[in-house]
Symmetry: C2
Amino acid sequence: MTRIAHLDEIRAVVDPAAVIDAVERGFVWYSQGKVDVPPVGLLHFDDPPGDVHIKYGRIIGDGVYVVKIASGFYENPDRGLPAGDGSMLLYDARTGELLAIMLDRGWLTEVRTGAAGAVAARHLAPRRPGRIGVIGAGSQARFQVRALAHVTECREVLVWGRRRDRLEAYRDELAPEGWRVEITEDIEEVPAVCRLIVTVTPSEEPLLFADQIRPGTHITAVGSDNLGKQELDPMILAEADGVVADSIAQCTHHGECAAAVRGGLLDPARILELGRVAADPALRRGSDEEVTVADLTGVAVQDIQVAKMAWAALGSS
Amino acid sequence: MTRIAHLDEIRAVVDPAAVIDAVERGFVWYSQGKVDVPPVGLLHFDDPPGDVHIKYGRIIGDGVYVVKIASGFYENPDRGLPAGDGSMLLYDARTGELLAIMLDRGWLTEVRTGAAGAVAARHLAPRRPGRIGVIGAGSQARFQVRALAHVTECREVLVWGRRRDRLEAYRDELAPEGWRVEITEDIEEVPAVCRLIVTVTPSEEPLLFADQIRPGTHITAVGSDNLGKQELDPMILAEADGVVADSIAQCTHHGECAAAVRGGLLDPARILELGRVAADPALRRGSDEEVTVADLTGVAVQDIQVAKMAWAALGSS
């Protein structure tokens, strides 16, 4: 019998802090070649504009496989609906039986994406970041900061966005959770005072530039999940001491790395995969003066890991 | 709110006869380039052996899109489970909202595959087939014959298989539905007396050969749904007066056509697409002496059409 779980039940049992460790293990296995994740399935819509991603696969030897179907329909907010939606299906890898349908409305994706940011910061962020800089004030910009609470003691956030009302909403939502949030509409302030920066926008043009980045800064770029998107000046990657990708294959196709590699500014051989960095302390940040960049495009192994965790938690709840 | 429908409800409201017309319209649109069906997603398992197919897409302009996830785990019958399973998800193409989950256990796939055989026979089978020959005695071999009831008056079936117990079970199941079923373990009998033949096996080697095929015969090959599978001697296609494919792209990759094209025995330009044949009476069987072959590998547009029909029927039930 297929277990059908709705968002409320899932949110009640899944511990986002535990997801960070599960996602980290997933990245390690992915970089060791122990994960079968075929190319992402894509459907594109023009009118109204939308994208559907199908991410699926399994960890070799696991008893289950996972299929995630996620969508972004960008005019939904005008209709009073969230832009993003999604669900995950978890199957028995010995029989094909559909064990569970997680109707999580995209929440598990938000959590696993935040978790990836925390994994990157755990191994790459400077010990004393000053403040956490957040470029973008949308939903995932909240999940990124919440996940960082588990890997840094810093509770000071400076958030940049184009709309003051959205910045105020961001601040008002995070303040009760123990964050001291300042808002700015001047993006240059962020690299000037923050040495742990997360970019979380759908931008198609660079927002941060190399000459703004101070020594000792780590940047995690989360927004470039598709062709055409870009948040960082490729010179930042060219000059960085370390460039890390969740998936070298994906990031050289459509992430921040892609723009830098195509422009001849980044030798692909210089890119390290996050799962390798997580497994090998020698590959982590070397000094408080290094500049590092993590390019996160989202890998199905994150979905597999978070779906397994939800399935286990639902079973014992 | 997502509608979750189980097999019993779906079977109670979906009329397989109506699916034939819906699938035919789908093929016509597909051949007119009005359907967006990206490459099939695949996951393969070795231990135990299994395959998962993700077929998805939408008809341009439709208000919905469909994702089907189907599996075959070939040792399941040893565990008392059916080898095939599957479900279909139907979404709002304007918002990404998940409208319905059809937990049909693969039944809709069986029906839509049978319907494709009926579409092929409607336009290509001789008017008087003598008997319907069926190569294979599994589940889909039943659905093929049931669908043919809507496009031919013939009710005589000769079924071949390797195991007498399965042949008898086949006969005993179809006889009460109005079919006169004879069984044989001698495959040569089938082309000798039948001029409408359906091959429905997972064979990886030809089962029927060119010198066995009499003038006026139509063969629908359903089994070659994946690389390595083959049911017909490529010379049958080489010598046929008409070769029709549900999808030229798919059939020249892994259907019966693929083997004939690779062997230099079939000019790909000779292959007609089923949707073109259905739309143009001039492309149908020309005389009672022609030999025709339909190569059906299964196209996502069939899943889209049957899922839409189930969704509409569930809504009004």
